[in-house]
């Protein structure tokens, strides 16, 4: 343990604790800009400087470890004035478009300027940032390089945590520009559209591709029949935009708000998750028994699908052909629901509310996304976009009554709801696979070993004497490591170390998705996930195959799992894609 003093108070911390972390022990908040709790310190911005007695220069709190007997001062007039200068210098190179910026009122730079009471341009605005990139070519995220403060968080996330390397800093010094490699657009780069860069940017330089206007227009079009669906992870995060405690489950309020916005029916993506489990569970058991192309790898995460098609096309044969939950609800809405309620499917506008930016890409990524005869999902909005729509509409979110989802497409099992967190798809699949393999029901449906935030989790599940080896990875760098392990074994002609693998591109799974409210940390991911596990515990049916909705849909409409109709509506093909299109 290390003993030191911060602002005159004695502290004791573990070796390797930064001054930034230690300051919290004495309830002091040191401002940061380039440091994000998820990321290693880049030491770029200098706003976190502090003083330590006997050390001639100021220290960066984010990247300096506390040492024995250090006597640290976090705030004094000189420190504050240096921090102010840092801010003023950043501002001299930043457009002041706050009123029209997507991060207005939710921007780390804006907040700091407010706290420091910056009231004028101290330094002239000398640089022409307008020559930097504006790029909306992915139609999922938008880069506005004029606003970039070169903190490096997005590059760090994209390269080290997602291992995609779509983003980089090109050139240097005053000309440093955030860009893919060379003079190409983001869509020509390997970007998988996970949106983690947007979620880690402190300012409005990378944001989601906003499609709220498209949805308003559909809602106001008398000829259209607008329906919506809510993804698992959205219900436990949207509350953050309305001042709820983190992890509050707001399914009822969301349904109610969507109805008030004008949606004719509100479905639940959790129901689609239950359907995915039936198809994927059967697919798994079939392959597992035949020892055919193991491991089976889950495919409900579109950023992951894009990553696999670009970086591991040799593994396409291991990929579950099952579509993602919201695509299944989309196709069911335009077939089953439309037929039952006598609605012309071409009039239906299906809007998915997702924690995800990549879903915007998924909805038209291949011809199978049109299997109802129309585009199965018309628009995919992020949690952030929906929160804005609710606020714009004047709905008093906190005080509206709860409402329930419509039709059987609006009800779900506990297994469906945990899809929104890492380990959740695996756990849901195991609950049903157990039944499929043994024809029995689990006494205890919880598989705790697959839960939690460890980057790669692996365990062996005992299914009535049969051993099922599973692995779960989240964050694409972890995923890549896991795949390389499997590929290496395969290259040597050895059998796969796993039978079933779950992958989610974002750390924490969808609760940490690229379209979620800003400010994500592991603490937040845990609380959001806890909200989902609580929702699971409160459900009568906790296994997908026991959900009355699922049983009804198969009986009335689909027929057999993996049957002909199921294949036509719920399954998918994958293709090798180029990493660079230029």
């Amino acid at each position: 343990m290390i003993k030191a003093t911060i602002n005159g108070k004695q502290i004791e911390v573990k070796e390797g604790t930064t001054i930034l972390e230690a300051a919290r022990l004495v309830n002091m908040r040191i401002p940061v800009l380039c440091k994000h709790p998820d990321l290693e310190a880049g030491s770029g911005c200098g706003i976190c400087i502090v003083k330590a007695k006997g050390i001639g220069k100021m220290l960066r709190a984010c990247s300096t470890m506390v040492e024995n007997n250090m006597d640290i001062t976090t705030h004094d007039p000189e420190i504050v004035s240096v921090r102010r200068t840092v801010l003023e210098l950043i501002m001299s190179n930043h457009p002041k478009d706050c009123l029209t910026c997507a991060r207005n009122q939710d921007c780390e730079l804006q907040r700091l300027c407010a706290e420091f009471g910056i009231r004028e341009d101290y330094f002239p605005n000398i640089l022409e940032r307008h020559k930097y990139k504006y790029d909306n070519t992915t139609k999922t995220i938008v880069i506005d390089g004029r606003k970039c403060i070169a903190c490096g968080r997005c590059v760090n996330v994209c390269q080290k945590h997602q291992n995609v390397w779509a983003l980089s800093f090109q050139k240097r010094g005053i000309e440093t520009a955030l860009s893919p490699a060379g003079d190409i657009t983001l869509n020509e780069s390997p970007c998988v559209k996970c949106g983690q860069c947007s979620n880690h940017c402190p300012v409005g330089s990378i944001v989601e591709y906003d499609e709220t206007q498209k949805v308003w227009e559909a809602l106001n079009n008398k000829d259209k029949y607008c329906v919506a669906q809510i993804a698992p992870a959205v219900r436990v995060s949207v509350g953050e935009a309305f001042g709820y405690p983190i992890g509050s489950n707001l399914t009822g309020k969301l349904v109610s708000a969507l109805k008030k916005l004008g949606f004719k029916a509100v479905f639940d993506t959790n129901m689609g998750a239950d359907m995915t489990i039936i198809e994927e569970g059967n697919e798994f058991v079939k392959k597992f028994k035949a020892k055919d192309n193991l491991p089976l790898i889950t495919s409900c995460c579109p950023a992951w699908v894009d990553y696999l098609e670009k970086f591991h096309p040799d593994m396409i044969g291991n990929f579950s052909s099952c579509k993602s939950p919201h695509e299944i609800v989309g196709v069911l809405a335009k077939t089953y629901y439309a037929q039952k309620n006598n609605i012309d499917p071409s009039k239906i506008v299906m809007v998915s509310i997702m924690p995800c930016t990549a879903k915007k890409y998924e909805i038209s990524r291949s011809q199978e996304m049109f299997s109802s005869g129309q585009q199965d999902v018309d628009v995919s909005l992020t949690t952030r976009e929906l929160a804005r729509m609710i606020k714009q509409s004047g709905i008093d979110f906190k005080n509206i009554e709860d409402a329930e989802g419509d039709s059987v497409l609006g009800t779900y099992s506990g297994a469906g709801t945990i899809f929104g967190t890492t380990g959740g798809v695996m756990e849901a699949a195991l609950r049903t696979a157990y039944h499929l393999i043994t024809n029995k029901e689990l006494a205890d449906v919880e598989f705790k070993a697959v839960r939690g935030l460890k980057g790669i989790k692996d365990t062996v599940i005992d299914v009535d004497g049969t051993k099922v080896r599973v692995a779960i990875a989240h964050g694409l760098a972890n995923v890549d490591a896991l795949l390389k392990e499997i590929e290496a074994k395969r290259a040597k002609g050895e059998p796969s170390p796993y039978d079933f693998v779950e992958v989610m591109a974002c750390e924490g799974g969808c609760v940490g998705g690229g379209g979620q409210p800003y400010g994500v940390t592991n603490e937040l991911r845990k609380k959001r996930a806890a909200g989902l596990y609580k929702d699971d515990e409160s459900q009568k049916a906790r296994c997908s195959h026991l959900s009355p909705a699922v049983q009804t849909v198969y009986k009335e409409f689909v027929g057999e799992p993996l049957g002909e109709k199921a294949h036509k509506l719920f399954h998918n093909h994958y293709h090798k894609r180029k990493t660079y299109n230029k």
Binding site: Q159, W165, A166, L167, S168, F169, Q170, K171, R172, P180, A181, G182, S189, T579, Y580, K582
Partner: protein
Amino acid sequence: MAEVTTKPSIDLAAIADKWKGKDGSLIMILHTVQDALGYVPRETSLELSRLTGVPLARIYEVLTFYHFFKLTPPAKYQISVCHGTACYLKGASDLTKELHNITGVNEGETSEDGMYSVTALRCVGCCALAPVMLVNGRVYGGVKPADVKAILNEIMKEGAQNA
């Protein structure tokens, strides 16, 4: 008269192999490529990325960080004007202006047909000759804007004779 040029070819795999596992290997490989080709073509970078597993973004981070590396083929006539203090005071910017008048190329750019490039230099080391201009490595001292055209004509004539 159309010129027949054979593009110098390189054995990238061999170069990459030579530097494999050594510190700073990426920079050394890129140096070797540029020495052979005069610039680092995008296809070469893409191929290098495949061969070494170094992401293209990292290769471009290095390529764009150092001014030394060029991403486009060198111009046939590489013109530089010294902007060291002496040359600057003696009217280097007038030379740059005149070069623009003649070739249409701004400082730091290459003409679209790949004929001319104009760059600024910091002190060539022969201040007594200020202002100094270089064409394909040949030094011209005491240049007046009115001389620029003649210098270019001379070099181009030589080029035509040698072809």
